[in-house]
Amino acid sequence: MKSFFAKATMGRCLPYLVFAMLLAFTHTTDATVIGQKSYTSEVKPLLQQYCFTCHGEDTQEAGIRYDLIQGFSSADVQLWTRVNEKLLRGEMPPKGELQPSANEKKKIQTWIHEQALGARKIDAAGGVRRLNRRELANSLSELLGLDIDLSIGLPEDGLTDGFDTGARQLHDTAASVETTLDVIHKAVSSLRILDPPAEDRRLITVDLSDGKPLRDQVGDFDKTKIKVDVGREVPVYGGVLRGTYRAGKGRWPSVYMRNVENGLVRIRFELTANTPNGLSAPWLCTSYSGVSGRTGPVGQEHHQITGTLDDPQTVEKLWFIEDIVVHKRQHTWGLEQWVEFPFRHHVELPYVMEENKKLNDSQPDLKYPWIFVRGLEVEYPYQPHWRGLEGLGPIADDEASANKVIGKFVTRAFRRPVDSGELEPFLRFYRSRRESGASFDEAIRNVMEMVLISGRFRFLAAVDGKDRVHDQYAIASRLSYFFWSNMPDGELLTLAAEGKLTDLKTLDAQVDRMLADSRAEEFLTAFTTMWLELKQPIQVAYEGRDPRHKYKGYLIESLRQETIAYHQELLRENLPARALIDSDFAMMNDTTADFYGYPRLSQSSFSKVKLRNDDPRGGGLFGHAGIVSMTAFNGLNWPIYRGAWALRTVLDDPPPAPPLEVPDLDPNAGANRGKSMRELLAQHQEDARCAICHKTMDPLGFAFQNFDISGRWRELEYHQYEISQANEAAELQFKGKGDSRPVDCTGQLPRGETFSSFAEMKSLVAENYLDDVVRGYLKRLVLYGVGRSPDVIDMQEIRQIMERQRPKSYPLRDLLKEFIRSRAFLNRQQAIERDT
């Protein structure tokens, strides 16, 4: 089969702007324009003199034109921020062009600054903002006490420069609000307050370890309407287990249900693993698919199984029937309508083990890792009591109890104390529901829905300086959504109540505490992923069929985690920012250590490994196999893509969008055939329109030529690579073709420094570009934590932070603390006005 990738032409539209198309003539309906008068009299003449030639009516370099501007538009905040930066750094007008005087520059900058302050008053992006999809799903789970991913079915959010926290993009439409209300309804409907469990509740517990016939345990199918199929018996541990499984083989229990209605199902597996000496425990990879109709796939879960026969590990999963495909097919046992729970399990190992051909399910060889199912339990409908009832004392069907329950729920949902005035609408709604005939439980659930669609729950409060008490709780929420993407915990609320959350020492201590908490996983994953664009596919390819393909799911996931773990380690140890670029260690786990050729580790969790002196990859983000694989777009190891990625995410120097009138660079087109990438790109740069960006992207991109499509180090490169997908199971294969030659990675950094090796590039970046790296990092923190791309005022504060931290070489956790203390994060508008 011919390859999908090999023929793909190189679309020109690869390196995209992070600061999406700063078109000055953008018109959005809600843009407000201010400062028209001063613009026309003071600023416009200067722009006309120095800028219009390249950014005017006739030419629009980088897609920017100033001649249509009439003042400071709220839609152009980013444009003006950039203008200010370029002036500050002396990058515009470019060398060789007519330069404005210091006074003239100052005039423009002062004007920009004044307007930016004015714009904030009109539209304070970074004040109130809506919870995004992740935050809403987490908050709902937390508040309702349901351990289930409620983001299924919730509408997606718009992104701001690749981040899901941007206030401007977090607006709603009727359709998205209604969908959200439906998800809320689905979630709330499973809760009980006073009601006893449903009469028709089905509960099945199966113990597979004692050899009792399954039929006796499951009960009469006609009554239970649940069928469990556990596969073959396996003699093991002197007894018989069923539903056993090992890498690539075996059969997992299936669970079927018939005559199901809406609601929650709880399925619990008791698992035990056989882990031979020296190996790490096997992973149970569960993928959920086949989820019904309009909601799309649900994703994957990975559980490392360390349970033993006596102390089995429990893996529990909740499902909404609404989320599962309901089959109508006639089955051998005559079901009219049934659901099969859409697990697909397989066991993965950290590294390939020699296959024993004789192995089969009835002869388990305990030299290999196995996962056994010891027991399972199915409950439907699953209707837990609302978790918040704990500590409320006795609840009865009376108004006092209702007030107590609703009061607690609203307080939790609003993340702060609630006064009786605020509570009253909810109590009123409760009473009206009761009057219309709803039961106690129903009315409470109705009120919960109302609370969860209310503005005070869905919006993160602003710190607006009007009310000290209010501000304290707003900061508590800001902190908890920053680190945990979830509601504040008891300690934060206590500190808020004590008025301590504006105390800088307290804030520092909270950074330490919250970062060390396991919930900080949310910040580390979400932030690192959006910052470094880690959602792109990692391509693990081997030459030809290879047994390692079988285990690559776990490897790919681990390679993605490596970068997150590395960021975590830098923060944990408060290492200098230089370590982002260069260090002497890497974070490895069992499978990545094997992949990188280091001694075996037995842990799936990441630990710090000191790199060998002769490891050419070295430490730092640039050498992470996941990253260099993701950026090997279409398998052509494309220097452009890698160069653009480095500029965009790490060096804070995003290349502008490619112009549209330039023809594609097609390596397969007639005269281009047989030319090396370096030759092709040199040719491409002869076109002045291309050269503008390619002269920065390409020479930097060549630094990564030592990495192949899967991020493995190579010393030789082939003239061409053939990449193909061997089968539906996506076994990616690649093979060098034609002549081979030593990798040539000579290149150049944006400011002209030349290098001839990957290591040299890294040390040049660490020496000469650290300010850019840190600035980019702080800008992303502002966007993630405040909900806006930094404006001129934020940039000023970022520079102040950098000046303070530069002498200490920018320790990463200190940078984070500085950000949490910042006026931007604490939204101290008054302070800003006073200070400037």
């Binding site: 089969m1 011919k2 999908f4 023929k7 793909a8 032409t9 679309g11 020109r12 539209c13 690869l14 995209y16 198309m21 904030r120 008053k121 009109i122 304070a124 004040g127 997606e156 959010d157 718009g158 992104l159 206030a167 607006h171 439409t173 009727a174 359709a175 998205s176 609000v177 209604e178 209300l181 499973s190 449903a198 199901v260 209605e261 809406n262 109709g293 309009r294 799309g296 309901v326 109508k328 009219e336 409908p381 609408p425 709604f429 529901r433 109705n446 829905e449 109302m450 669609i453 503005g455 869905r458 919006f459 607006d464 664009e533 959602k535 792109q536 969008a657 549209l660 594609d664 539906e728």
Partner: protein, 453 residues
């Protein structure tokens, strides 16, 4: 209210045969609340049909322009509708071109899509803009496709105002169930109760949001104000839907619509023809009953798994060719110079099949009476695609049918200067013909007067 509602009326439907009573106003009159309340005019409808990947252009584009053009091979099957459609060539998304395989991402948005995998930025699609301006129907729009996923390999053509994908539906049964409220009395009641409850929750929430709004400083009010407006809008929709539920029901004939066909593209199970016929029949009923006025329908995707319809097996046999990778077929299939190649023949057959099914839908719409004339004259239906044998998004093959009462001239081939006229102009023309008060859409410069009377 019960915690759980009965799952569906699948079983209940079985016994009812083909005729199903549906909520409806009188068949010959305007059906929606909007139209009923505001005017007597038949409301306009719009639908977009996306042909994936390469379209066999030599068999699609006419040789001549103007009125006396000769129908090209692919289009001959709808000769009888010559008066009802316009062929358009030469338009493209000028700024909003995409590289690679992302044409379906921006065919209806004209957005310059940032397409690094995992992070797609996009903007509102033209259909959703239309839906915003149309009155409240039972469904704001129908989003149809061959699969149910959005996202990176999105198969949906529709994006909300934030540019996020609107998940599509693939199965005729799912479409039918979402289009029409339950006909079973108990279920209808449950639906009505849920809507009533939803309305009271929203009403209560509106007061709460208003009180929050009052507490805020001016700069924060804007965002909460927008939320308040949106929640009010939801409340309005829910109210409309309740009223629609209470309306009298005419009978709609669904006999012959295969609602329960299995949708499976990885194996040659589903017939493209049968599936498209069922879906277009549902579109006709949806328009006829005015349950929605806006439809998008992606007929497939460029790569897998879009091309394993049962017909491909026949074409493979007929044209004696091993098609192999569908992606490569597209690169070869649109080839101008090799009209006689097996790939080209198969793609011609595919295009013709789509057009035949499209024509069948035109027949049915034409046979459906409207307030004044027939329903086809009030529907603007665009079928076409966005790319040729390479990934270049130029010279879109487009055909607009219907809408004569909305101002369409028809019976002509209009060729625009390539690279000069944005497809956004066409979208703007359609929006304005449908009475949407919009001045521009993305790259538009103005409506295309050539197309209208």
């Amino acid at each position: 209210m019960s915690l759980r509602q009965p799952l569906s009326r699948r079983t209940a439907l079985k016994g009812l045969g083909g005729m199903i009573a549906l909520p409806y106003l009188e068949a010959m009159n305007p059906h929606s609340l909007h139209a009923a309340n505001k005017s007597e005019a038949e409301p306009p409808r719009m639908a977009w049909f996306y042909i994936p990947g390469a379209i066999l252009r030599p068999a699609w584009f006419p040789q001549q322009t103007g009125i006396d053009y000769e129908l090209p091979q692919t289009i001959t099957n709808i000769e009888r509708h010559r008066d009802n459609f316009t062929m358009i060539s030469g338009t493209m998304h000028i700024e909003g071109q995409v590289g690679g395989h992302g044409h379906k991402l921006n065919w209806l948005t004209a957005h310059h899509v940032r397409q690094s995998v995992g992070t797609i930025t996009n903007s509102i699609s033209v259909d959703q803009l239309a839906a915003q301006h149309f009155g409240h129907t039972y469904l704001p729009s129908l989003v149809l496709s061959f699969g149910t996923e959005g996202g990176d390999h999105g198969v949906t053509l529709s994006r909300n105002p934030q540019g996020a994908d609107i998940p599509p539906m693939a199965s005729p049964r799912a479409v039918f169930n979402s289009l029409f409220p339950p006909e079973d009395a108990a279920q209808l009641q449950a639906t009505q109760e849920r809507l009533a409850l939803k309305k009271s929750i929203l009403d209560a929430a509106i007061d709460e949001i208003r009180s929050l709004h009052r507490q805020l400083g001016a700069s924060d009010q804007r965002r909460v104000d927008a939320y308040l407006t949106t929640v009010r809008d939801v409340e309005q929709r829910v109210t409309s839907r309740r009223e629609i539920l209470e309306m009298p029901r005419p009978k709609v004939n669904i006999e012959g619509i295969n609602l329960d066909q299995e949708i499976e593209w990885k194996e040659p199970v589903t017939s493209i023809k049968q599936w498209m016929e069922a879906m277009t029949d549902l579109i006709v009923i949806a328009f006829q009953t005015d349950m929605t006025r806006v439809v998008t329908y992606a007929l497939g995707d460029e790569g897998t798994p879009g091309y394993y319809g049962r017909e491909w097996v026949e074409w493979k046999e007929k044209y004696k060719h091993n098609f192999g990778n569908p992606h490569n077929m597209h690169h070869n299939g649109g080839n101008l110079n090799e009209l006689e190649s097996a790939d080209a023949k198969a793609f011609g057959a595919r295009d013709a099949l789509y057009i035949t099914c499209f024509g069948r839908m035109l027949d049915k719409l034409q046979a459906t009476p409207a307030t004044d004339g027939n329903l086809l004259d009030y529907c603007q239906l665009l079928i076409g695609g966005a790319q040729d044998k390479t990934h270049r998004a130029v010279n879109f093959p487009l055909l607009v049918a219907g809408g004569k009462k909305l101002g369409w001239k028809h019976n002509q081939h209009v060729q625009f200067d390539q690279g000069k006229v944005p497809t956004s102009d066409l979208f703007l023309t359609m929006l304005q013909a449908a009475g949407c008060p919009v001045e521009r859409f993305k790259e538009s410069r103005g409506p295309l007067s050539e197309l209208l009377t």
